[in-house]
């Protein structure tokens, strides 16, 4: 069966794409680079970050290109003043509330759209441990406006393998999807709370070892902001020893079982500091299990 193609106009150029393509696909087919934060090729689009919005003529509001399907005859603008304003504001709103410093693409977008998060004032001090987890929907302290509220809070480190630094969480949902129907089907984490107090959480903020978590680390694999991180990487960064210029990435095949998962080993100073799998790998689609992801302690073993 051949798929029908649809013609549409994007930024004055003609695009011809399969009928089930998204506007993002259509933009890509014309070489128009569209910023995305919550989208990933191996996950179902959730269209929550709203940075990929474009203007479709005749539509009342902007539309998220990552999930909006193309329609014949659509006339689309990807760099109009309305689009640029919304993209800039999305960057400023995230930049003023979340620590995005470990997302190079975010910093690049911010430069491109002239985002200035400081317009909203100095950042509010960090919340105490557990404070954000105890938030009650529909209630918050009235602000005086002198500081910009943030999601800053202490790191959650409750196991030997990885930690959760929710100061860096922009709620892109990728970890929830990877833990759920898009990869692992474990459902150890979900969004809880509401509004600005929405957060990724286990039930009742239970520590990961007491939750349904199986430590596959697929959430780390998809996290774009460094909120989920191997303990070893976190400690190196904290000690200011993390140095990407001294790192190499080597692909190998996991030796634990017969599936044949590709492992990408990031190594610094002869030490494995991060294990991933390519998201376009035909065996893993970027996913691993606890052994492939974390079971490399023996590499440095004595025997």
């Amino acid at each position: 069966m051949t798929r029908r193609t649809v013609q549409l106009t994007i930024d004055g150029k003609q695009a011809s794409v399969p009928e089930d393509a998204t506007l993002l696909d259509a933009c890509t087919s014309l070489g128009i680079e569209t910023p995305t934060l919550c989208w990933a090729e191996n996950l179902t689009p959730v269209n929550v970050c709203r940075i990929c919005v474009v203007e479709v003529e005749g539509a009342r509001v902007l539309v998220p290109s990552c999930s909006r399907k193309v329609e014949a005859g659509m006339v689309v603008h990807t760099d109009s003043p309305r689009v640029r304003t919304s993209r800039k504001l999305v960057l400023e709103l995230l930049g003023s509330s979340v620590d995005m410093s470990l997302s190079p693409i975010f910093l690049e977008y911010s430069k491109r759209y002239g985002a200035d998060p400081a317009r909203f004032g100095p950042k509010a001090p960090k919340a105490k441990a557990g404070e954000r987890d105890a938030a009650v929907p529909g209630h918050h302290h009235a602000p005086d406006g002198t500081h910009a509220a943030t999601v800053a809070q202490p790191v959650k480190r409750d196991n030997d393998l990885f930690l959760r630094d929710y100061e860096k969480c922009m709620l892109c949902m990728k970890c929830v999807q990877a833990c759920g129907t898009d990869a692992q089907n474990t459902f150890a984490i979900a969004v809880s709370g509401r509004g600005f107090e929405a957060r990724i959480s286990t039930e009742h903020d239970t520590a990961l070892p007491d939750s349904a978590c199986v430590f596959c680390g697929n959430c780390i694999g998809v996290c774009p902001t460094g909120a989920l991180m191997f303990n070893v990487e976190h400690d190196l960064r904290a000690a200011k020893k993390w140095d990407e210029s001294k790192q190499t990435v080597t692909d190998t095949v996991c030796s634990y079982c017969g599936v044949g998962c590709t492992l990408s080993l990031r190594v610094q100073d002869n030490q494995i500091v991060r294990v991933t799998s390519p998201s376009d790998n035909s065996v893993t689609a970027g996913n691993l299990c606890v052994k492939g992801r974390f079971g490399w302690g023996f590499v440095k073993g004595d025997e």
Binding site: N47, V48, C49, R50, V53, V61, L62, S67, R68, K69, R82, T85, S86, K88, L89, V90, L93, L94, S96, S97, R119, F120, G121, V136, P137, G138, H139, H140, A142, P143, D144, G145, T146, H147, A148, A149, M170, L171, G180, N185, T186, F187, A188, I189, A190, V191, S192, G193, R194, G195, F196, E197, A198, S201, T202, E203, H204, S211, A212, V214
Partner: protein, 593 residues
């Protein structure tokens, strides 16, 4: 699958609460082996509400038991439970009060009441609440007493004495709201006239004549009449009802659903509550007609959780209608089947957004879905769904019974018929008013007795928190869809909230900004963070402590508002700035001109 359940066994009260919804547990519970996405999950919110009502809070072991029974992963169950304002995840006193401090109540002295309640009753037994939909009797409170036979009372003209009485499970008399209007009484025809518990009385006042007429007209005849009547949605979006119903009726996918959006939560809105409390059979009959016209055999009324009296009366009406063959199989002997149930919300304004409402019914967090696809193609359980506001449905009764021409004998050419307005704030007789479309704002205010005490009118909030403030010089605006649109305003849900010269706009704007921040679902960045930044910005303007100059603040607000309007997923974020922007045009804080 690696699902893990919360293993701590439930207490007796928790087991009883959960089993009251789900029935007794089977002797050998199947292991939690797969996440259930089918109709079992739709019982999650009713189960959590039962825990809240009977136990007084949703404990870890209560939630764990509910999740185990329903095949819901605990993390997702917790995600749902922590979404709703009326569910408490912390233990609290069994008797608990929610005191409204929203716009109308604030103007009626809610702050004083809150201070007094704290002094006399302490801090642990109450919390502030967004609009409780009792604005015509402001200030209002909702008091719940948990137990095997839970007691819920929502009442107006709240005092500390009344709240204390309700907390000790003493019945507090419900007050009959004020009704008024000019022209024909259609929507309010039976309100305050019939006994809301009596089907006979309903029938004696023309009840079920519309359904009989619908069965004579046939599906096509009903659809045609609704379209000819140019009926549009009364919930705020003003979408043509005929087009909506026709799309569902013609949708090939099955089954079809009809859903009534009775999650009336727009601050200042209480018309749907009044309709349901005083004419519940009207809504039952209208839903039945909607099911007939759209080919749906199942209807759901999603009623906001803060309306206990409406819930009791509606549930009673449904039971009576079923007993008399007006619901169920072979209605009126015409081979048409329609089942109807009521679902209660649990304290979340966002669930009034139609797709969030579907998610809430389905047992997920009340987060809006991206549109398209629209509900007429993919609504409740992903099936074609006609979702309508209470007032829209009740208007259908007159159109079907008397025809589109008779319906359009009043109103304007663009907005035929009548409309309910919720008049509250500083007027002599706040209440629900039915007027033909086209009446002027000042006429309506005069009908409600005008501003008391010879005070000057300062501003009117038109359309609700998602609407606009207008000053005294714009009271000649005609109340119709086309006139308000031309004036850059919107009718919204029919809110007309009046403020006099003693009301400061600053605290009201701060309350509106806080409301949108509290009620944002948190999904998309423009709304989740934008509503926070907006509240901070309004606080600076009101305190006259701008960052930079007032002008830079207004520019920032303008960009913020534009991006929320343009890039938010749903109407909440898209309208979160409109009232604030309109008020700033009236009150130049900090001397901006």
């Amino acid at each position: 699958m690696d699902l893990r359940a919360i293993e701590t066994p439930p207490g007796e009260d928790e087991r009883a609460a959960v089993d009251s919804v789900l029935g007794p547990a089977p002797a050998h519970e199947p292991p939690l082996s797969a996440r259930v996405t089918d109709e079992r999950r739709t019982q999650l919110l009713p189960t959590l509400l039962a825990l809240q009502a009977q136990v007084g809070w949703v404990s870890e072991r209560g939630l764990g038991y509910a999740c185990r029974r329903l095949g819901v992963p605990p993390a997702e169950g917790f995600g749902v439970a922590s979404f709703y304002g009326l569910l408490s995840l912390e233990q609290r006193p069994a008797a608990f009060a929610h005191v409204c401090d929203d716009l109308a109540c604030k103007a009626a002295g809610a702050e004083r009441l809150c201070a007094e309640v704290t002094t006399r009753l302490g801090e642990k037994s109450w919390a502030r609440s967004p609009c409780l939909g009792l604005c015509e009797q402001a200030p209002a409170a909702l008091v719940t007493v948990a137990g095997q036979r839970p007691l819920e009372q929502a009442f107006g003209h709240a005092t500390t004495d009344k709240i204390a009485a309700a907390l000790s499970a003493t019945p507090v008399a419900a007050q009959t709201p004020h009704f008024g209007g000019t022209g024909p009484r259609r929507l309010l025809a039976r309100v305050g006239v019939v006994d809301p518990s009596s089907l006979d009385d309903y029938r004696a006042h023309g009840g079920y004549a519309a359904l009989r007429e619908a069965l004579v007209r046939g599906t096509e005849g009903v659809l045609q009449e609704i379209t000819l009547a140019k009926l549009v949605g009364r919930g705020g979006a003003a979408f043509p009802t005929g087009r909506k119903w026709e799309a569902v009726a013609r949708a090939p996918a099955r089954p079809h659903y009809v859903v009534c959006n009775a999650d009336e939560s727009e601050p200042g809105t209480f018309k749907d509550r009044v309709l349901i409390e005083h004419d519940p059979f009207g809504l039952v009959e209208a839903m039945t007609i909607a099911g007939f016209a759209t080919g749906a055999e199942r209807g759901v009324i999603y009623l906001r959780g803060e309306y206990p009296l409406a819930f009791a009366r509606l549930s009673h009406a449904i039971a009576v209608a079923r007993k008399h063959g007006l619901l169920g199989a072979d209605i009126m002997g015409r081979g048409f089947t329609f089942e109807l149930e009521v679902r209660r919300g649990a304290g979340a304004y966002i669930c009034g957004e139609e797709t969030a409402l579907f998610n809430s019914i389905e047992g997920y967090r009340g987060e809006p879905r991206n549109k398209p696809p629209f509900p007429v193609h993919s609504g409740l359980f992903g099936k074609p769904t006609a979702i309508n506001n209470v007032e829209t449905l009740v208007a259908v009764l007159d159109i079907v019974r008397d025809g589109a021409a008779a319906y359009g004998s009043v109103g304007t050419s663009g907005s035929p018929g009548t409309k309910l307005f919720c008049v509250s704030g500083k007027v002599e007789k706040p209440g629900v008013y039915e007027l033909p479309f086209g009446a002027r704002v000042d006429e309506l205010i005069a009908l409600a007795g005008g501003v008391p005490g010879g005070k000057k009118l300062r501003a009117v909030l038109l359309g609700g928190a998602a609407g606009h403030f207008i000053g005294p010089e714009r009271l000649h605006v005609q109340l119709s869809f086309e006139h308000t649109r031309a004036a850059g305003l919107s009718l919204g849900s029919g809110v007309v909230m009046v403020f006099d010269e003693t009301d400061e706009l600053g605290p009201l704007l701060q309350r509106i900004a806080a409301f949108f921040r509290d009620e944002s679902c948190g999904q998309c960045v423009p709304c989740r963070v934008g509503t926070v930044r907006q509240e901070e910005l309004v606080a600076r303007l009101v305190a006259q402590r701008p960052l930079g100059s007032v002008q830079t603040e207004l520019t920032l607000l303008n960009e913020l508002a534009q991006s929320m309007r343009d890039a938010s997923i749903c109407g909440l974020g898209q309208t979160a700035s409109s009232a604030i922007e309109s008020a700033l045009a009236l009150t130049p804080f900090g001397g901006a001109s």
